[in-house]
C-alpha cells in the first residue's frame, strides 16, 4: 500500500493541478509567437482581456466560492482600480510600479469600508447591500465631470515598466498581464491551502461552530473581502491600460452580475472555477458573435444547458480523485 498523499487529504485543500497547469502556462507564454501566424495583435488583445477577467473572477470566487459570501457588487472594485489607474495616468504618473499598487490599495480601502458594514448582514441582505454600495459608486463615477462623467475617461498612455519596457507594446503588455495573473492565482492557491484559507472555508460550512471554537469569523471574512477587493483593483487597472479607457459602466450592476455568472459557470469554490468560467464565457461570446448577430441567444442557451447539465459548474465535471 502506498502512503496517502499527506498534502491532499483534506477537502479544504485545493490542488493546483501542475500536470496540466504547466503545459497551459507554457502555451500561454508562447502565444505571442503563435498569434502572428493566425491573425496578429487582435488575438493577443483578446487573450489579455480573458486573462484579466480570469483574475477578476478568481478574486470574486475567493469570497463567493470559498467564503460563501455572495457579493453582488464586485465590479465596483474593478472600477475603482480602473479609475485609480486612469486618474493617476491623467495626472502624469506613468510608472506601472506606482499605478498597480495604488489601484490595489485604493480598491482594498473601499473593500474594507464596504465589507466592514456589509459583513454584518447575512444571505440575501448581504447580496443587496453590496449591490447598493456598488450602485452608489457607479452613480458617483457618473457624476464626477472632472474625470469624464458618463462619457468616461480616455487614457493617452498605458504606463511604463522601466528598463526600456513599454506597455504600449502589445507583447510586453500581454506577458506582463500573464505574469501578474499567474502570480495572483498562485497567491490565491497558497492562501486557500494555508490556515487562513482553511478557516475561511470552514466558516462557509459552519459559521456557528467556527465562532464557538474561537475563530474570529468577522475578521477572517473582512480580510478575505479586502484581499478580493485588492485583486479586483489590479484587474481593473490592467483593464484600463488594455482598453485605454475607463468608464462608469465598468461598475454597473450588470458587470457584477457578469463576474458572478463567470464564477458560477466555471465552478463556485473550485480553484480554477473563475479562470475556466472567464475563458469559456468570453470565448463563447467571441466565437458566437462571429457566426450570428443573434449570438446572445446562443450564449443564453449554452448557459442554460450548463445549469441543467452541470449543477455545480464546469469544473464539477472533473471529479476530484481524493474525494470518497
Amino acid at each position: 500500500m502506498a502512503e496517502p498523499d499527506v498534502s491532499q487529504r483534506s477537502l479544504l485543500d485545493h490542488a493546483l493541478g501542475w500536470r496540466w497547469a504547466l503545459p497551459l502556462f507554457a502555451l500561454l507564454l508562447a502565444l505571442p509567437l503563435i498569434t502572428p501566424l493566425i491573425g496578429g495583435d487582435f488575438y493577443l488583445g483578446l487573450a489579455a482581456r480573458i486573462l484579466i477577467f480570469a483574475l477578476a473572477a478568481t478574486s470574486l470566487n475567493l469570497i463567493l466560492g470559498f467564503g460563501g459570501l455572495v457579493s453582488f457588487g464586485h465590479a465596483a472594485f474593478v472600477g475603482v482600480g480602473a479609475y485609480t489607474a486612469g486618474v493617476l495616468l491623467q495626472s502624469g504618473v506613468t510608472s506601472a510600479w506606482v499605478l498597480w499598487p495604488a489601484a490595489m490599495l485604493v480598491s482594498a480601502l473601499f473593500a474594507a469600508l464596504i465589507g466592514a458594514i456589509s459583513l454584518r448582514t447575512r444571505g440575501v441582505y448581504f447580496i443587496m447591500i453590496t449591490l447598493a454600495f456598488a450602485q452608489m459608486l457607479y452613480y458617483l463615477a457618473l457624476s464626477t465631470k472632472a474625470y469624464g462623467g458618463d462619457d468616461g475617461l480616455s487614457l493617452a498612455a498605458r504606463g511604463t515598466l522601466g528598463g526600456g519596457l513599454e506597455l504600449a507594446n502589445e507583447r510586453t503588455f500581454y506577458w506582463t498581464t500573464l505574469a501578474l495573473v499567474t502570480l495572483a492565482l498562485l497567491f490565491v492557491w497558497r492562501l486557500l491551502n494555508a490556515r487562513f484559507g482553511h478557516a475561511l472555508q470552514a466558516m462557509r460550512e459552519n459559521e456557528a461552530r467556527m465562532e464557538a471554537v474561537g475563530f474570529a469569523v468577522y475578521g477572517h471574512r473582512l480580510a478575505a473581502f479586502v484581499i478580493a477587493g485588492a485583486l479586483a483593483g489590479l484587474a481593473g487597472a490592467l483593464l484600463a491600460s488594455l482598453g485605454g479607457f475607463v468608464s462608469p459602466s465598468m461598475m454597473q450592476w450588470g458587470q457584477s452580475g457578469l463576474l458572478m455568472v463567470m464564477v458560477i459557470l466555471g465552478g463556485v469554490g473550485h480553484l480554477w472555477g473563475g479562470v475556466i468560467g472567464a475563458v469559456v464565457f468570453l470565448l463563447l461570446e467571441e466565437v458566437l458573435s462571429h457566426y450570428t448577430i443573434y449570438w446572445q441567444f446562443a450564449l443564453g442557451a449554452a448557459l442554460l444547458a450548463v445549469v441543467l447539465a452541470a449543477p455545480n459548474g464546469l469544473m464539477s465535471l472533473f471529479k476530484r480523485k481524493e474525494q470518497p
Partner: protein, 306 residues
C-alpha cells in the same frame, strides 16, 4: 406655485411607485414562496410591453391591445415555468441566478430578432392624451391619472385575492412557512405555475401602461429589475404589503429626489454643482434608503417569514 409643484411630484411618485409595485408583487411572491431568485422577471416586463405594443398596433385599440398583451404575457410566464423554471426550484440560489440570467439573454435576443433593436412606439389612447384640470390652475396628464387609477385597482384586487380567497390563504401559508404548507396539502406545483402566470400578467400591465411614457426597447427590463429587488428587500421578502409600501416609498423618494435635489443644490451650491451632482445624488438616494432600512430593520419593514 410651490404647492402645485410638490403636488405634481407627489402624484408622479405615486404613479411610479404603483407601477413598481406591480413588478415587485410578483417578484416578492416568487422569491418568498418558491425561494427562487428570478433575474428574468424584468424580461417578463419587457415581453409584456412588446406584446401590448404589438397587439395595440394590430387591433388599433389600446384597451384591446392591453388585454391581449397581458393575456399573452401570462401565457408566456406559464410556459416558462413549465419548461425551465420548475427545474430550478430545488437548486441553490447561484444556479438560479445563472439559469435565469441565461433566460434574460435569450429573451432580449428573441425580442431583438422579432421587433428589431429600435424602440417601439406605443401611444396612449386619444381620449386620454390631454391634461385634466385637478385644481384651479393645476393641470395633470389624464393618462398618468389613469395609471394611478389602474395601479390602485390592481393593488386592491391583489389585496382581496391574498386576504379573502383560498388561493391567497395558501399563498400566505407558503410565504410564511413553505415546508408546513407543503405538509398541509397545499397543491404546490399548480399554485407555483398559476403564481408565475399572475406575476407575468402584472409585469405586462406595468409594461403596457408605462410603455407610452418610457421607451419600449430591449434592455428596459434590466434597469427596473434592480429597483424591484430594492423594493422587495425594503418591504421584506415574501410580503405583498411590504412590497406595496416599499414600492411607494421608492417611487416617491426617487421622484422627489430627482425633482428637488437639483433645485436644492442649485440654491446652495450654484447651478454648476446642481447639474453635475444633482442627478447622481438623486439616483443614490434609494440605495441609501435601502441601506438605512436594512440597518434598522435587517429583514425589511414587514418580514413575511415567521
Amino acid at each position: 406655485m410651490t404647492g402645485i409643484f410638490i403636488l405634481e411630484q407627489a402624484l408622479n411618485g405615486l404613479q411610479f411607485g404603483l407601477m413598481l409595485f406591480l413588478l415587485a408583487a410578483g417578484l416578492t411572491l416568487v422569491f418568498g414562496i418558491m425561494d427562487m431568485i428570478n433575474l428574468a422577471h424584468g424580461s417578463l416586463y419587457m415581453v409584456g410591453a412588446y406584446l401590448v405594443a404589438a397587439a395595440t398596433t394590430a387591433s388599433g385599440s389600446f384597451w384591446i391591445g392591453l388585454a391581449a398583451g397581458v393575456a399573452g404575457a401570462a401565457l408566456f410566464g406559464v410556459l416558462l415555468e413549465l419548461t425551465v423554471l420548475r427545474r430550478l426550484y430545488t437548486r441553490d440560489h447561484l444556479s438560479q441566478v445563472l439559469g435565469t440570467f441565461a433566460i434574460l439573454l435569450m429573451c432580449n435576443e428573441a425580442v431583438r430578432f422579432i421587433w428589431g433593436s429600435q424602440p417601439v412606439l406605443l401611444s396612449p389612447p386619444d381620449s386620454l392624451s390631454g391634461p385634466v384640470e385637478l385644481l384651479s390652475g393645476f393641470y395633470y396628464p389624464a393618462y398618468r391619472l389613469l395609471i394611478i387609477g389602474v395601479g390602485l385597482l390592481v393593488a386592491l384586487g391583489l389585496w382581496l385575492l391574498i386576504t379573502r380567497t383560498r388561493i391567497g390563504m395558501q399563498l400566505r401559508a407558503g410565504a410564511s412557512n413553505r415546508e408546513m404548507a407543503l405538509a398541509m396539502g397545499v397543491p404546490v406545483r399548480a399554485l407555483f405555475t398559476a403564481l408565475f402566470g399572475l406575476g407575468a400578467a402584472l409585469c405586462a400591465v406595468a409594461g403596457g401602461l408605462l410603455g407610452p411614457l418610457l421607451a419600449v426597447q430591449v434592455g428596459m427590463g434590466e434597469s427596473i429589475l434592480i429597483l424591484a429587488f430594492v423594493v422587495i428587500v425594503i418591504g421584506g421578502i415574501g410580503s405583498v404589503r411590504g412590497a406595496l409600501l416599499g414600492a411607494l416609498l421608492v417611487g416617491v423618494v426617487d421622484t422627489a429626489g430627482r425633482a428637488l435635489i437639483p433645485l436644492l443644490f442649485g440654491a446652495v451650491l450654484g447651478p454648476a454643482a446642481a447639474d453635475n451632482a444633482g442627478p447622481a445624488v438623486a439616483s443614490i438616494l434609494i440605495y441609501v434608503l435601502m441601506a438605512a432600512v436594512l440597518f434598522f430593520k435587517p429583514r425589511g419593514l414587514f418580514p413575511a417569514h415567521g
